[in-house]
């Protein structure tokens, strides 16, 4: 009944009068579908890709060599400056060190002035034997 109402063919009395509907291919058939593989054989060859990569890598190494030259120049500059400046810096440090040692010795002499037989600056382990580890522990800490 609903078919006759929806399809609305005038004059039909029962569903058997409806035209036959079959799910069939369209007239002339479906278009053909390609199922075989057709992988393209175009594009660069392996040799071409290798050559391009080698060219890019070569260019990169050329750029790297230029940059290394700059790095070497700046490294040479730094080392040269250190060679010139280091003796001066070491001399300054040595002066400060000697001054510190002198003050330490004076302070020790002031503190230990009432101790008989005390020589300022002498190592405290001179008159007794200690195993190496303990004498290392009793070293002066600078």
């Amino acid at each position: 009944m609903t078919e006759s109402l929806t399809r609305g063919v005038p004059g039909i009395k029962s569903i058997k009068d409806l035209p036959v509907l079959q799910d069939a291919p369209p007239p002339g058939g479906f278009p053909t579908i390609r199922i075989e593989r057709r992988l393209p054989n175009t594009g660069p060859t392996g040799a071409a890709i290798f050559a391009v990569t080698a060219a890019i890598v070569g260019y990169g190494f050329y750029q790297l060599s230029q940059q290394k030259g700059e790095t070497r120049f700046s490294a040479d500059e730094i080392y040269t400056v250190r060679q010139i400046v280091n003796p001066i810096l070491q001399a300054e440090w040595d002066l400060r060190y000697l001054e510190h040692q002198r003050k330490k010795k004076e302070e020790e002499a002031r503190i230990m002035k009432d101790v008989p037989g005390w020589v300022p600056g002498e190592p405290t382990t001179k008159h007794r034997w200690l195993p190496p580890l303990e004498s290392w522990a009793k070293r002066s800490l600078i």
Partner: protein
């Protein structure tokens, strides 16, 4: 102050991970001609936060036959190592930053191993063994690639160092084949497609994190994406001339593009690739670069 410095690293990384997950889903959806997350927030921008909330309110399961300590510790180890790696990039100014990151990625293997072993499940254990084998195999090629890169990283005095601040800008041309190998090795290190057999096993009820739920799973998830971001930043530092958000995003897009395009490697296929293809290749490239460095550039 320490807490502030920790938060300065952790909060942006977590935000980055959250939006990376959203970006991945949207990109995959675009590639597959369907909708990604578009319901929560404008364009699905709140999706990661609701996902995190969902994972947080789930019931945490602790299998009774599992080893409780290791089971609980494994996701924490993975998460902590992924965060420390970010500190290794941004906070440390040592001359051996590359070595620090290699060491941390080697330690990350333990998180996976503990997870699979402590679950006391055959499938989790097999998945963890495969993950560990995968990560260790491709770490070798990664380390040898780092050696080749380290040949050209020098500080101002010409001393070799693996610091990230001294990378010359032309290294991406000189090491172009190594760049490709590096990108593939970091795909394998982060267990992304096409090297995600250990993770894909989770779809088939297997994999090292099959017994995890709620925050344990969330920590593994965050650690995976944070590792992806770290490896992308390494690649951009070494090969793209420095770290920037745009380069990181471009490499991440490459990760997702690969995921949407390629099928998965089988276990024997990626082991063959790691040991019989990439390791000899990287060793050969290192030998050539070392010879060039000694005889040509100096």
């Amino acid at each position: 102050m320490i807490i502030l410095s920790i938060l300065t690293i952790t909060v942006p990384v977590l935000l980055c991970v959250a939006f990376f997950t959203l970006a991945e889903r949207q990109i995959m959806a675009s590639m597959q001609r369907r909708f990604g997350p578009h319901v929560s927030g404008l364009g699905g921008i709140l999706q990661p936060f609701w996902d995190g909330l969902k994972l947080g309110v789930k019931e945490p399961l602790l299998p009774s036959l599992s080893s409780y300590g290791a089971f609980s510790a494994a996701p924490m180890i993975s998460f902590i190592l992924s965060q420390i790696s970010w500190c290794g990039i941004f906070i440390s100014d040592a001359s051996f930053q590359g070595l620090i990151l290699m060491a941390l990625s080697s330690l990350a293997v333990y998180g996976v191993m503990l997870a699979g072993w402590s679950s006391n499940s055959k499938y989790a254990f097999l998945g963890c063994l495969r993950s560990v084998a995968l990560m260790v195999s491709y770490e070798l090629s990664l380390g040898v690639a780092l050696l080749s890169i380290g040949l050209f990283l020098t500080d101002c005095t010409g001393m070799k160092c693996l610091s990230f601040y001294e990378a010359p800008s032309s290294i991406q041309f000189a090491l172009l084949p190594l760049c490709h190998i590096f990108l593939i090795c970091i795909l394998a290190e982060t267990k992304r497609i096409p090297f995600d057999l250990p993770e894909a096993e989770a779809e088939l009820v297997a994999g090292y994190n099959v017994e995890y739920s709620s925050l344990g799973f969330a920590l593994f998830f965050i650690a995976e994406y944070a590792n992806m971001a770290i490896m992308s930043s390494l690649a951009s530092i070494y090969f793209l001339g420095g770290f920037s958000a745009l380069k990181l995003t471009a490499i991440f897009f490459g990760f997702v593009w690969t995921r949407g395009t390629l099928p998965r490697y089988r276990y024997d296929q990626f082991m063959r690739l790691g040991w019989k293809a990439y390791l000899p290749l990287t060793l050969g490239i290192f030998a050539i670069n070392a010879s060039l460095d000694v005889f040509v550039l100096n």
